[in-house]
């Protein structure tokens, strides 16, 4: 995924941009390291193996965390009170404890005595260690498979399914894989991101997407395993670690061997009105899990261009990518796990629109040479004219090939109309396949002159990004978000949903998962 430099970028400018991103991001990372959230704590329980839901469909992890919080608060984390209770109460498993606790039949305490703490912490570590072991095993299984089957050459073909019914999604995903998809993403139902719990079981009634549940993950991964065997190549599965349950979904993704997760540091804030603090804390934890699981994250800068103008706001994409890179690295993600997002969203009526797109795409390619960039297709300017849509998607594919993008989310000619039909996807793949075959190597002939239109535009966008980063570093990221810097949408630091799920860590806070994660994969329980 290395790109030959064609734009004559000044390395000094890129360095300066990264320094500024670090200045803007550092206080946020500090915040994440000193706070926890209800979902982080539920993720701990999930990694310890607590599954299932009560008869109302409310997961036991929610019941248990709520019970702990009610009685002793979450400042010390959920692990100490829970494993303390398991050790001192009836010997029983987590599920029994959760059932009893939600019936009000358990008294929790934060163990105070050093040995009680040590005992509870050790038990907790053992418990979540099993979860991490499963994540590690999944990672190794994936790596072994990839070693044997090899990886497709970039750009990888990324397709979505979005029927709302896992049992319709499955044959569609398999059809997509057979038709050439390297990555299949199952889009989520509209409501899920604002649910403060992860639904259970296989689901068949989502709107414009299917719920992210552990069971759905399992079913789809198994279906793709079948088709991977059939095809002799490994088909990756993607879902969304996003919304109020970002940490838990990251954990479930690791447990069920998902391969990529949508996971942005600001998407929930801007597009779901989730509280900024909540989001930044959750994203940090979820990225630690992703790092361990070998999952490639996909960031969401493309979305900005659906509400802001793709030419005017081009530099905001770059600023956000630099922030996502900073936060990702801070959480332990390798550059090869940073599927930074961007998009082909310029109004096709704009003169030179294709050259502008290519300038932007090449800029991002050269700024992040080791990242498997995720390039998103036109959406905003897709109308009901399916022929025009098919055409625009072809030029998106061409821009992807010409600038060496890592992941190509395949555009649908019916983007302006409905979630994809089976045939839309098949036609979209034919489109990519033609472009990849006919134009492979065309990048060799693409040499924008150093002071030509393309290189000049790329440098201009980078300069604008640096100027914006200067302001953000100055005023702070929360202020910048409140000012509507991204996607033309402003969000206050204390507004939005889910702030009540944020808890400052007390001195004795213990999180066996972060403990193990930060110790690195070598240290075992």
């Amino acid at each position: 995924m290395t790109a030959s430099a064609k734009l004559n970028l000044d390395p000094g400018v890129a360095r300066r941009a990264r320094e500024l991103a670090a200045r803007a991001g550092a206080p946020v990372v500090a915040l994440a390291r000193t706070h926890t959230t209800v979902s982080v704590e539920r993720a701990v329980l999930r990694l310890a193996g607590l599954t299932g839901a009560d008869t109302d469909g409310m997961p036991w992890v929610n019941r248990l965390v709520d019970a702990v919080r009610d009685q002793v608060g979450l400042e010390h984390g959920v692990a100490l009170p829970v494993w303390d209770a398991l050790l001192i109460g009836d010997p029983g498993d987590l599920r029994t404890l959760a059932e009893k606790a939600s019936a009000g039949a358990v008294r929790f305490r934060v163990p105070a005595a050093r040995e009680d703490v040590t005992r509870a912490a050790a038990a907790a570590r053992r418990a979540v260690g099993a979860g991490l072991a499963r994540i590690d095993a999944n990672r190794r299984a994936r790596e072994r498979l990839l070693e044997r089957l090899g990886d497709p050459p970039p750009p990888w073909i990324y397709l979505i399914v979005a029927t709302g019914d896992i049992l319709e999604d499955i044959p569609q995903a398999q059809a997509a894989a057979r038709a050439g998809a390297d990555v299949v993403a199952v889009i989520r139902s509209t409501g899920q991101s604002l649910l403060d719990y992860v639904p259970e079981g296989a689901t068949r009634e989502g709107f414009a997407g299917t719920y992210a549940t552990q069971e759905n993950f399992r079913l789809m991964r198994a279906a793709l395993d079948d088709v991977s065997r059939e095809l002799g190549r490994y088909v990756r599965l993607t879902n969304y670690a996003s919304g109020l349950c970002m940490p838990e979904i990251a954990a479930l993704a690791g447990l069920e061997q998902l391969d990529m997760m949508l996971n942005d540091c600001m998407y929930g804030i801007i597009f779901r009105d989730i509280n900024p603090r909540r989001t930044f804390i959750d994203q940090h934890f979820s990225r630690q899990i992703h790092a361990r699981a070998g999952i490639v994250i996909n960031t969401g800068e493309d979305n900005y261009l659906t509400t802001a103008d793709a030419v005017e706001a081009a530099h905001t994409v770059v600023v956000s990518q630099l922030l996502n890179e900073y936060f990702g690295r801070a959480a332990g993600l390798a550059d090869a796990q940073l599927g930074l997002g961007h998009a082909f969203e310029i109004d096709p009526a704009v003169p030179d629109s294709f050259r502008l797109e290519v300038a932007h795409a090449q800029l991002v390619r050269e700024l992040f040479p080791a990242a498997p960039l995720k390039y998103m297709p036109p959406t905003r300017h897709m109308t009901g004219n399916i022929f025009a849509g098919y055409l625009l998607d072809a030029f998106f594919n061409l821009a992807g090939v010409l600038t060496g993008q890592g992941i190509l989310l395949v555009g649908m000619m019916t983007e302006g109309i409905h979630t994809p039909f089976l045939s839309d996807r098949d036609l979209a793949l034919e489109n990519v396949r033609y472009v990849r075959t006919a134009c492979r190597g065309l990048a060799e002939d693409f040499s924008p002159p150093p002071d030509g239109f393309v290189a000049t535009r790329a440098r201009q966008v980078l300069d604008e990004a640096v100027r914006l980063l200067e302001t953000v570093a100055e005023e702070g990221l929360f202020a910048a978000i409140a000012r509507g810097t991204f996607a033309g949408t402003s969000r206050a630091a204390d507004g939005g949903k889910g702030l009540d799920g944020v808890v400052p860590r007390a001195d004795g806070y213990r999180n066996p998962v972060t403990d193990l994660l930060e110790a690195g994969p070598e240290e075992r329980w």
Binding site: A179, T190, F207, A208, D273, H418
Partner: protein, 279 residues
């Protein structure tokens, strides 16, 4: 070879030579046009859940496609493209002539039943008839998170070169954004003593938009006695304007709506209400 001699005068405009109604201008009965008046040509594409991988399967699949085309009224239908989508689907492109005729006199177009007002006219009408500011409460309800359409109508910035409703002195706009529950929207409308409630819905899969609007309608029923609830307007790219009665709202706006249309409608409707109910 049949030829038809047209008199050899010095270049008359050929338009004049085209038989009356050839291109359908003013014609009452029209048929689809491929390249000849009245040829009835249409293009179809669809997928059937049938395999088409082998020669035999493909023949059966194409037979099925033709059966469907016939049911749709196509004559001399040709399956010009068949693509097997493993394991058991097939996509088709079909061309053919439809028998059906379109009777233009039976096309009923909902004419705009309110005058299109300029910003100044709207402001004036409100001041002179209602004598106070109109309160509008808008939201994308349910789980739908799309706000661009709602904002296009409400925000000052507006849409298609027209200012949004916030820019009208006559309106006070409360824009609640997206993913608002129906009950919350109605509660806020009550609290703000709203004159009109504006609901946006963009996601339509499984008729999500209809369901969401119906929830708002139901919530208004409990909040206000019949006849007293605020004006209820729904908008989004895929509403059927004819569904107003069925949905239980006062008006539906579709793809391409501009703020001015909405402002004009709201003002006219509220003025009409005032005149109806001499409160």
């Amino acid at each position: 070879m049949v030829t038809e001699t047209v008199s050899d005068e010095a270049r008359p405009s050929p338009a004049a030579q085209i038989r009356e109604g050839r291109t359908g201008e003013g014609a009452r009965i029209v048929r689809p046009y491929g390249d000849t008046t009245g040829d009835g040509m249409v293009q179809l594409s669809f997928t059937l859940p049938v395999p088409a991988g082998t020669e035999d399967d493909r023949a059966r699949a194409e037979g099925a496609a033709l059966q469907l085309a016939r049911a749709m009224g196509l004559e001399a239908a040709m399956v010009v493209h068949t693509k097997a989508i493993p394991p058991s689907f097939a996509f088709f492109v079909v061309y053919g002539r439809v028998r059906h005729r379109v009777d233009m006199s039976r096309v009923t177009v909902r004419e705009r039943d309110y005058p299109l007002l300029s910003v100044a006219e709207a402001n004036l009408a409100v001041r002179s008839t209602l004598g106070r500011t109109i309160v509008l409460v808008g939201a994308t309800v349910g789980t739908d998170a799309h706000t661009v359409g709602l904002d296009a109508i409400l925000n000052v910035k507006g849409f298609a070169g027209e200012k949004g409703l916030e820019a009208y002195r006559a309106f006070r706009v409360v824009n609640l954004g997206a993913q608002v529950e129906a009950a919350a929207l109605v509660a806020r409308a009550e609290a703000e003593r709203a004159d009109a409630i504006l609901v946006s819905q963009v996601v339509t899969q499984r008729d999500a938009h209809l369901q969401a609007v119906r929830e708002v309608v139901a919530a208004t029923r409990t909040a206000w006695p019949p006849g007293e609830r605020p004006l209820l307007v729904a908008g989004g790219p895929r509403f059927d304007p004819a569904a107003v009665a069925d949905l239980g709202v006062d008006r539906v706006f579709c793809k391409g709506t501009t703020p001015r249309e909405v402002a004009s409608y709201v003002v006219s409707a509220l003025v009409a209400r005032l005149q109806r109910t001499p409160s």
